[in-house]
Amino acid sequence: MKTHTPNWVIHVENLSKQYGAGCAHCHKYTGPLHGNSQCPICNSVYACVNANFTLHEGEVLGIVGESGSGKSTLLQMVNLATRPDSGHIWYREPREQDADIVDLPAMNAYAARVFRNDRLGIVYQRPELGLNMRFTVGGNVAEKLLLANWRHVGNIRERIKELMIQTELPPERIDDEPHTFSGGMLQRVQIAKALSSNPSLLLLDEVTSGLDLSVQARVLDLIRRIQWEQQMTMLLVSHDLGVIKQLARRTIVMKNGHIVESGLTDQILEDPQHPYTQLLVSSAL
């Protein structure tokens, strides 16, 4: 029987990011063993140290960790919003057997902007980071289309309405302003905006934090449905193991800028190996 092994989309190799010059003592005082990502001598912060992981086509990979563990920095480096100090983020276009492999941090600013608009979509925890509150909902969703050279208002509005229906938003509210929408609806607007350019990778940064449980469940259902229907590759950051459990097939656990454990989500939740993961799982359950 012939099995199909999905290609990888993102391969992260020795990715590091630090804030501050660093000193000779940093390695002695930072990292998960010391429970600290900031050097007490020079105050440099090691946000991400030698991260390695692979994200396959159609897969949802969860990144879990406490606040300050470096998961959002890692996500922002993949989003090309933060430039790493060293390492590579290799990208391969999904569904293309002979696709070129590109090192994302090596791109120039213009190419990075075009790539970010065309191939990536991001949903933030706080809607004001992903949306412009002065524009209408339609205008916000239209931004990526306009950047991709859509120049026909009629066609743009049709596409926005399609996306609004897809994300369970009432299309008749296309010209309403975002501040008239609830928190859950704003997350759906962000998802509609992220999907507008048919991205090959969707980045989700704490998408359900701050929402009440019923709204949280609806947003998670929506993400799961989109992932299932479009076989979308997703990188999901959350400090909530419940969210990770529902969406991610594989999970990596971060602490003090380091990846301390990675594996299948079920395996990590049922048989955590690292003491920090054990603590995280026991405190969640």
């Binding site: 213009y110 339609g138 205008g139 306009l146 120049r151 026909h152 743009i156």
Partner: protein, 295 residues
């Protein structure tokens, strides 16, 4: 040498080093059409915001052989135009004119002359607000990055919002354009009527903002494309049947002014006339009487 107070100043008022600095930035601006170049804006004997940017450019490029024309809102005789012309004339001693065709340098605010300008002329525009992205990104640092990355999506959303809210592209002034297919540029408060004159023109256009300390340029034969949609096209101001009351021109940008008439029920009436006063005068001088024009 006469010891009149004006001649105690340097030629064109500001010192030669300052002029050289402005000229260096002008060269950079011409090399990068539409890109905003910072420059060290000098103090002048007029307030910032009254044309100091354009004035410094004119002072930096003017020579004793130049013939200068200064207009404000298309008018040669407005207070600002008269004051700037007098300052430049007194500090350089050069010849001034109101005839567009005769001028080698034209300093202007809010208008481009109606008459086609040639390759031997330079148009200097006074700019109040430099960055078209100011409407969508008030943070200058972030706007600079957006220009660097050609990240004009938000400005396009601004245009889209204009269509959604007003039913058409209702941007009356400071209409955004893309210069040479690369940089988005503010066209200064010139009316939409004048924007097509920037496209592939023979003339060099220099833009100076003294208050914001920025210079930019549109060199000759450069593409200048207004932002527009396939179903909502850029349009210039035009009212069917519009006509200048003085010269009868139907193809010029018009301004309205109130004429007092005690016999009239409302105490007077509004009339339209050419904004470019010298062009209007020229048409009348060419044996075209008002009656003939109106007939």
């Amino acid at each position: 040498m006469s010891d009149t107070p004006e001649q105690l100043y340097n030629f064109a008022l500001i010192d030669e080093d300052s002029k050289r600095e402005v000229r260096r930035q002008l060269l950079k601006a011409i090399a990068l059409p539409g890109h905003q170049i910072p420059f060290a804006s000098r103090d002048l004997p007029i307030a910032r915001g009254w044309g100091t940017g354009g004035l410094q450019i004119t002072m930096a490029i003017i020579t004793g052989d130049d013939i200068l024309k200064v207009i404000d809102q298309g008018d040669d005789e407005s207070v600002n135009a008269v004051n700037l012309r007098r300052l430049l004339q007194r500090t350089t001693g050069i010849q001034t004119t109101v005839n567009t065709k005769a001028a080698t340098i034209i300093q202007t605010r809010h208008r481009i002359p109606e008459e086609m300008m040639t390759r031997d002329q330079i148009l200097v525009l006074q700019v109040p607000m430099v960055d078209p992205l100011r409407w969508v990104e008030p943070n200058l640092e972030r706007a600079t990055v957006m220009h660097g990355e050609s990240d004009y999506g938000r400005m396009w959303v601004y245009m889209y919002e204009s269509v959604v809210k007003a039913g058409d592209l209702r941007i009356a002034t400071q209409y955004p354009v893309i210069v040479d297919g690369r940089y988005m540029m503010d066209t200064t408060p010139i009316p939409r009527w004048d924007i097509p004159k920037l496209h592939m023109a023979e003339t060099l256009f220099l833009f100076g903002a003294g208050r914001e300390k920025r210079i930019y340029a549109v060199p000759p034969y450069t593409t200048v494309e207004p932002l527009q949609f396939e179903d909502y096209r850029f349009k210039t101001e035009y009212i069917p049947g519009q006509k200048c009351q003085r010269c009868g021109a139907e193809d010029t940008f018009l301004t309205s002014h109130f004429v007092v008439d005690t016999q009239h029920a409302n105490g007077g009436h509004w009339v339209s006339s050419c904004s470019d006063s010298s062009y209007c005068d020229k048409r009348i001088d060419a044996n075209l009487t008002i009656q003939e024009a109106n007939s």
